[in-house]
Symmetry: C2
Subunit: 303 residues, 2 copies
Amino acid sequence: MKWVESVPNFSEGKNVEVLEKIVKCAEKYDRVWIVNWSMDKDHNRSVVTMVGEPSQVIEALYDMTKTAANSIDLRNHRGEHPRMGATDVIPLIPLKNIDYTECIDFSKQLAQKIGEELKIPVYLYEKSATRTERKNLATIRKGQFEGFSEKIQNEKWKPDFGPTDAIHPSAGVVAVGVREFLIAYNVNLATDNLDIANDIAKMVRHKSGGFRYVKAMGVELKEKGIVQVSMNLTNFKKTSIYRVFEMIKVEAKRYGVGVIGSEIVGLVPLQAITDTIDYYLGLDAFDMNRVIEYQLMEILEKE
Amino acid sequence: MKWVESVPNFSEGKNVEVLEKIVKCAEKYDRVWIVNWSMDKDHNRSVVTMVGEPSQVIEALYDMTKTAANSIDLRNHRGEHPRMGATDVIPLIPLKNIDYTECIDFSKQLAQKIGEELKIPVYLYEKSATRTERKNLATIRKGQFEGFSEKIQNEKWKPDFGPTDAIHPSAGVVAVGVREFLIAYNVNLATDNLDIANDIAKMVRHKSGGFRYVKAMGVELKEKGIVQVSMNLTNFKKTSIYRVFEMIKVEAKRYGVGVIGSEIVGLVPLQAITDTIDYYLGLDAFDMNRVIEYQLMEILEKE
């Protein structure tokens, strides 16, 4: 069987009932499995992780996008995380027995259906992008929901699918695309000073001289009274979790600020974990083939 | 399907051909998979890791024990690791859909067949043990191959199966039993002083005041010119890898000796890895359900 993962982000981090309604859409598909979902109140955003057979996964994603459009109104939405739509972004990631090309075809089928049937403008991003400047999600999202009514008028920012002259009034716009496995990774600092989190974010992120595969920004967690360096690790094989974590500890020292801990949002590939334990325990020639559950998975997959 | 693991140890760490012949025995069983095997020249010992359906696994183990008895002669065997047989120990570990009781039945079937057909005295150990003093493998193995001709004469040390008055002349005796998942874990020290490795082993092991689920001894790695603290972690859920590693680093400091790194021999359960990354990255509520390959395994297992 072909396996893809999808990690749609929805702009609702407080109302559990809304999320449950969205997640429930996957139930009628026998080759789609929801493996994790988490809500973040401060970000006012949810991340759902699902895996399955690609043709069914995109059907389920379509249903979820439709439900989100009917349940979330961006006109009343406030949150720490930038967003442009009720369903903000739908990434597709090839997992097993499928290559990028085929995965991109599925992403375009989904994008077209959302655009035409739900009347939501869709931007293809990352590996599915049709123009260079649309590879980066942050560039597409710039201006956010509030700025998009104007942005969409710009010839350069006509969507790939869906209405070309106006956003969906309550659901905004959405990005759909195939990308590498992305790890959402946040490091919590023992301070409520957002400037420090922003400074450190600048030091570790690619854009301003940091690691090649790190996107980062400072985020205030008002509920917890702390700030965090909120990151996307866009290629964990080349920029490892532990390296980013240790670098942030080093930088935090300059401010006399401690690192409380860190969090991985959603799922993580086993290799990211074994690379990390490898470093901390100084292991020699350790890899995921040495993990018993990985071996069982490989055996079962071949049956 | 029922799943067990077995990690037989063979007293041959140099001659690859011998090991290949032993490992090949599993080939004819369609529900037995060899997932890993490694040879250690200094220990002069090999560890094979296999998983599969229990009734087939014990058949394969019988064939491997027979092949080892025909290929390894303990009378000419030297190595750093204590041993008492060509096949030194055969642990069985329940993995999935099988409980300890059923697993113990399988271990006894195997023990009986080895004793009766190969004429090798067999001691049931750990959860399969018939007497309290036989729970601990080290207690059974005391005296090693060289001392066993005398030890077997002792009423207290009559084997559970096989000849009761003499060891197998070249293959010695073997221990068979069901146990918890055991992690063979070694920490390498930047010194060739065996006394230091032995001192540190004493500090971390249960027997002499250390951690409840650690067995440890100092071992000289002549080829590498260093020593190591060689350990068995007999319950990784209660005594974690990282805690043992960090404690050894602390103790090594007293001797002005550095810790070069560490090694995990054979397979390791995913939870041992996630517990470790949890500690080093200060993760909150992270567990193996967050690992994508674990989720795929669970999905495939239920199909």
